[in-house]
Each structure stands twice: as structure tokens, then as C-alpha cells.
């Protein structure tokens, strides 16, 4: 008989279908980050980056999930945030990762900005499996 007991799953999952869902998820993430030892600038960074990738779900896929969980690497501890959707995917990731700030105030996907805000950034996208954007941010 199976006797595995997985470690208590500490990841949080928020389904994102509307801007209100996203706002509630971000408010909880902020609360969580303060309880889990992020300082105020860190929390702002974290929530802003999560907001960017969460908003992309709404903009490009309509719905998806925002997930976060505590992570550790050596002596660093922090958080991993993922935005996952089943949308059409990003046709050209390299293009999406270029800074395209324009005078009209539209900023493309905002992904290059997110990459600058966080410590590790990863994106996977295909028409079959949708888009996974993941980042990690360490506590200072």
C-alpha cells in the first residue's frame, strides 16, 4: 500500500477571470509577503511584477491562474510567482521580451520591465499549452 505523505502544499492558487479577481489575488499576495518577511519595497516589487503578469492573463487569454509559493535556494529565501493560462500563446517570445516603450504610453507586454523587477524570470509559451510566466524574488 502507498505510504507517501507529501509535504504540506504551501502554494496558493488564485483563478483569474476578471480585474477584480486579480485585485483580490494581489491584495492577498501583499498580505502574504508581509507576513512572510518581505520588506515594504520588496512587497511593492513583488506585487507590481505579479500584477503585470496577471494582467497579461486577462489581456491575452481571458482567464488563467496566478500562483505563488515560498521557495529557497541555498541561503536565499523568497517567493515564486507563476501566471498560467491556456490562451493562444505568444507567437514571438523574443519580440515580446524587447523593450518597446512608445510615446503613446503603451508598453507592449511589460515583460522586460518585470524581468528587471525580479531576480529570476522564465517564460514558456506555445499555442498548445498556453503561456507560463514564472519569476522568483528573494528577500533582501
Amino acid at each position: 500500500m502507498l505510504r507517501t505523505t507529501p509535504a504540506r502544499d504551501q502554494s496558493h492558487v488564485h483563478r483569474i477571470k476578471s480585474e477584480l479577481d486579480l485585485s483580490v489575488a494581489l491584495a492577498q499576495l501583499r498580505k502574504w509577503s508581509m507576513v512572510n518577511g518581505f520588506d515594504a519595497p520588496g512587497a511593492t516589487r513583488l506585487v507590481t511584477a505579479a500584477s503585470e503578469i496577471g494582467r497579461n492573463i486577462l489581456k491575452y487569454a481571458g482567464k488563467g491562474e496566478l500562483r505563488y509559493r515560498p521557495v529557497a535556494e541555498g541561503r536565499k529565501t523568497g517567493v515564486e510567482v507563476a501566471a498560467v493560462d491556456q490562451g493562444p500563446g505568444i507567437a514571438d517570445i523574443e519580440l515580446a521580451m524587447q523593450d518597446r516603450s512608445s510615446s503613446s504610453g503603451t508598453l507592449g507586454l511589460g515583460l522586460p520591465g518585470v524581468k528587471r523587477l525580479v531576480d529570476r524570470f522564465d517564460i514558456n509559451s506555445s499555442p498548445e499549452s498556453g503561456t507560463h510566466v514564472t519569476f522568483r524574488l528573494w528577500k533582501r
Binding site: 502544499d9 477584480l20 486579480l22 483580490v24 491556456q86 523593450d99 511589460g110 522586460p112
Partner: protein, 300 residues
Amino acid sequence: MTNESQGEFLGSVEEHLLIHGIKPDDLENVRKFGAAIGDRMPEYIRHFYAWLETRPDYREYFHDGDLLGRVQSSQIDHWQSFFDARVDEAYLATRVQLGEAHARIGLPLPSYFAGVSQSFVIFTEKLYEGGLSPEEHAASMISIVKLLNLDTTIVVDTFSKLVAEQFAEQSMALAEMSTPVTAIWDDILMLPIVGIIDSNRAQDVMAAVLAKIMETRAKVFIMDISGVAVVDTAVANHLIKITKATKLMGCECMISGLSPAIAQTIVDLGIETGDVRTTTTLRDALEVGFATIGVSVSRA
């Protein structure tokens, strides 16, 4: 989940057993049935997913392979503990966690109930191949139903409480979204924005401000964002648009309340703020505003 908040959700083990009429004999019957299924337990997953894949919910809730693996392994653990039938605090706590998990992903309750019924069918019709006397078998059916009811009660109770909490949070978030544009001085309007800015609210703010400028012929508009939860590119773009529109109406717009953290994230995000006037504090913005309309403030 901390022990403290479990207290809110849960009564004692004895209470739960009493409510569902579960006696030690029942637990023994459940264990006997579990032993009769024995090593076939892991086959449960195959049967369950063969059924689940026919359900419309399936793709929506289980699209991700990682998640699926985690869910399946915790499902095995779940039924293992069910047929071990040691109903103690840890047992109740895992049922609370299950309710929490379902509430978080917004799984509809009918889907959960369908899953429970289907599991019952799998265990009693597909995996059970004899081994109990007819009397033992009949008794174990009743005992299993009682224990399933106990599980379901806790899951649903947890689920509904969490959904009510989420609803309350959403209502609070909405309540914060008022837009009181106020004339704080001749020719000076001010709007403190608290909470979240989404596209609807940005439009409300824009409309309210422009109407107020029209009405008061104000020359200065101060938008204080120290209470704004998140300034990402979308929010920044909304704010920039508001400042542009107010300028077109002949009113100077200033954004006050930029914290160091927000200033830094705006730069990192690469947002072009152009010629938007910003100040750290509301006081600074007021001073600029007074200078703009030619008022000097001094102590009497």
C-alpha cells in the same frame, strides 16, 4: 492553516462522530472493507480519471500536468486515510485543507459531490471483488456512507466559509472604489485614490475629474496615490491619461504620494512618465499648486 483558525471551522472529533452516528464498529467496518480492496487501491486513480476526463470541468481544472500529479498523489493519500479510518484531529485537518483547496480554485460544489459519488462507485463496484461475508459487506456499506458524510460535511463547511470570505473581500475592494473629487481651495481640486485602480475605476476617475474641472474651472488638480495598492504599467498608463486629459482642459495635474518603492518600480518597468508632475508628499503638491494659482501661504 493554523490550529487557531481550525477551531473556527471544526468541532471536536467526538462531536463529528456523534453528528454522523459513527461508532467504533463503523470505523472497524470501513477498515475491513479497505483491507478487502487491499493492494488495488492505486487503481482507483485510473478509474477516477477515466470518468473525470468525460466531464466538462476536466480541462478547465486539470489542464496542467504538474498539478495533476500532485492532485493524484494527494487523492491516494486521502482515500488511504479514509480506509484507515483513524478519525482524529489530523484526519479532520486534511478534510479542511481539501475544502480550502477547492475553494481556492473555485471548483463548483456539484463537481465535488459528483467526484465523491463516483469514488464510492469505484470502490464498491470496481475495486471490491469479494472477501467479506454478505453481512459484513452490508454493514461496511452503511459505515462507509456515514464516514463519507462526515468528510463531505467538513469540506463543504470549509468551502462555503472561504467563499463567503472571498466575497466579503471583493465587496470591500469595490467599496473602496469611490471617487470623491473635492475642491480644497479656489481653483484647486484634489482626489485621494485608495485601493485598486482597474480600467473601470480609471474611467470613473477621469469622468469625475473632467466634470469637476468643467464645473469649478479649477486650474490645479492633485491626485494623491499614496493609498494605491499597485502601480503597474496599466495603472501608470491610466494615471498618465488622466493627467493628459486634465491638461487639455487647462488644468495642471500633479500626482502626489509617490513612495520610494513605487518610484523605483516605475523606473524598472520602463514606464515613460513624460512631463507628468509628481511629488513625494501631498504637502509638496499643495505648495506647487498654491504657487501656480498665485497664492502665498504664511503664518499669521
